[in-house]
């Protein structure tokens, strides 16, 4: 299970901060503007790594969900990892879409184009938004984890189908993909290096955010567990106390002691 000590997380955070700062300097100041697109092309150095990070995050979600479902590797930690990664993935998918729009407006003349890659990313955003909504529904932790893991795999299976079908759709109807945001093979040297650096910097950021998010999830889960243990202990205590006080003639009138007890009163007989 991935878990970093606190100093390591802080060091990673610092490293990320420096890397992102250097990236900003490189991308905004050092690298020359693109011959065709001019300054607008500088958005590539955040847009492309954000998209990479989103896909990486969803991949991590799928792998940890599978590890949770596989009986031999089942550990609550995988569930926390899956949930944390999906959350970061959704944030960066959203960021990718916004940055793509900002890039598209000056270059394509439109905020949104029905390009295959854009549509796929948008569907991905909603897929995992639904997954996060499912995770937020309160339930028994084990039940919730299993449910979420299956939902994550259902969503992940869909990703290649969405991509494939949308790609196909747009190539059959060749209209919109004239402006391809793809990297050309003949990309200029300094641009390529900056982009590579950007991807590394964003991956560091992912590592830092994940470390923090998993720590948070672990703490919150720990608190829930403690509350549950306390509730169980209280229930056990209330039971033994009652038998001491009561004479052992069971009957209809004995429910009285329980009525004032909020835990018991809230329980009801049904699920």
């Amino acid at each position: 299970m991935i878990s970093l000590a606190r100093p390591a997380v802080n060091a990673l955070g610092l490293l990320t901060l420096v890397a992102l700062f250097v990236l900003a300097v490189l991308a905004l100041g050092v690298v020359p503007p693109d011959a065709v697109q001019g300054d607008a092309q500088r958005l590539m150095y955040v847009h492309v790594p954000a998209a990479w990070l989103a896909y990486l995050a969803f991949f991590v979600t799928a792998v940890s969900s599978a590890l949770y479902l596989w009986p031999r590797t089942r550990q609550p930690g995988w569930d926390l990892l899956a949930g944390s990664s999906a959350e970061i993935g959704v944030i960066f998918t959203g960021l990718t879409l916004v940055l793509g729009s900002l890039w598209g407006r000056p270059v394509w003349g439109a905020w949104w184009v029905w390009d295959a890659r854009l549509v796929t990313t948008a569907v991905l955003f909603f897929l995992y938004l639904g997954y996060l909504a499912l995770r937020r529904v309160p339930a028994d932790p084990d039940v919730r984890a299993r449910r979420a893991a299956i939902a994550a795999l259902i969503a992940f299976v869909d990703v290649p189908i969405v991509h494939f079908s949308v790609n196909w759709w747009r190539t059959l109807h060749q209209e919109a993909t004239v402006f391809n945001p793809d990297l050309d093979a003949q990309i200029e040297g300094s641009m390529a290096w900056t982009l590579l650096f950007a991807v590394v910097a964003f991956t560091l950021a992912y590592g830092y955010l994940m470390a923090r998010r998993v720590q948070l999830a672990r703490l919150e889960e720990g608190r829930e567990e403690r509350e549950l243990d306390a509730a169980i202990a209280a229930r056990v205590a209330s039971g033994s106390e009652r038998t001491d006080l009561e004479d052992r003639v069971p009957g209809e009138g004995t429910g009285k002691g329980n009525i004032g007890d909020p835990a018991v009163a809230g329980a009801g007989e049904h699920r």
Binding site: D142, V143, A231, P250, N258, A267
Partner: protein, 225 residues
């Protein structure tokens, strides 16, 4: 069957908190105790309908922590609800229950007569009265000739004829090889049928209140299957 320190959650509430319970083969066990004590959850746990959070539970030779499903076809469960579909008739509901459990449709008709619903066989479930619903519930539980019969407040809402029918079902069960566990507030009535009574309080089983030497059950109080 045997429970050790069983803990079950209903959502985030510990309905069962460290329950210990042994049940002998072919006995009639009464579970008494106040509302909210965990009787219903205990029966649902034995039926494999709720997950065991910690502890051990073994029912009909099956470890519930590992497998909550394979003992179900040997089980009759009568809960608060009928587990039936409003738009189907009594007979259709019962036939679906028996056939899905692998029994024949003829069994369904036998059981219908036994619980006294043969006149209502073609009435839609949504038109049944509360008492008729209880009879249907019992019929569903009996329809698969269970080894273990779990009854949750079975007398509630039944008329006198229905009650005596139910009493005879309970008292005849052991001789047919069936173990019966009844959760009930009608303690006086069920006590006369039961071999043993266990009180459930605050999610735990207290010691047995009533022990009756039974012909069929093992002599030791805490032994059992």
């Amino acid at each position: 069957m045997r429970l050790r320190a069983a803990v079950c959650l209903l959502g985030r509430f510990p309905a069962l908190a460290g329950t210990d319970l042994d049940v002998h083969e072919r006995e009639v066990l009464l579970l008494s105790g106040p509302n909210g004590a965990g009787k219903t959850t205990l029966l649902r746990l034995l039926a494999g309908l709720v997950r065991l959070r910690s502890g051990k539970a073994e029912v009909l030779g099956v470890d519930l922590a590992r497998d909550r499903r394979s003992h179900r076809r040997r089980l009759g469960f009568m809960g608060h609800d009928t587990l039936c579909y409003d738009d189907l008739t009594v007979r259709e509901n019962l036939r679906f229950a028996t056939r899905s459990a692998g029994a024949t449709a003829a069994t369904a008709d036998d059981v219908l007569t036994r619980v006294g619903l043969e006149e209502q066989a073609d009435v839609a479930h949504q038109r049944l009265s509360a008492g008729q619903c209880r009879r249907l519930s019992l019929a569903v539980a009996l329809s698969r000739s269970p080894d273990l019969l779990l009854l949750d407040e079975p007398h509630a809402g039944l008329d006198p004829a229905g009650r005596s029918m139910l009493d005879s079902v309970i008292s005849e069960a052991p001789s047919a090889g069936t173990t019966v566990i009844v959760a009930s507030h009608e303690t006086e009535r069920v006590r006369s049928l039961a071999d043993r009574e266990v009180r459930i309080v605050g999610g735990r089983a207290e010691r047995a209140v009533l022990e009756r030497p039974s012909v069929d059950s093992a002599p030791s109080a805490e032994g059992g299957p």
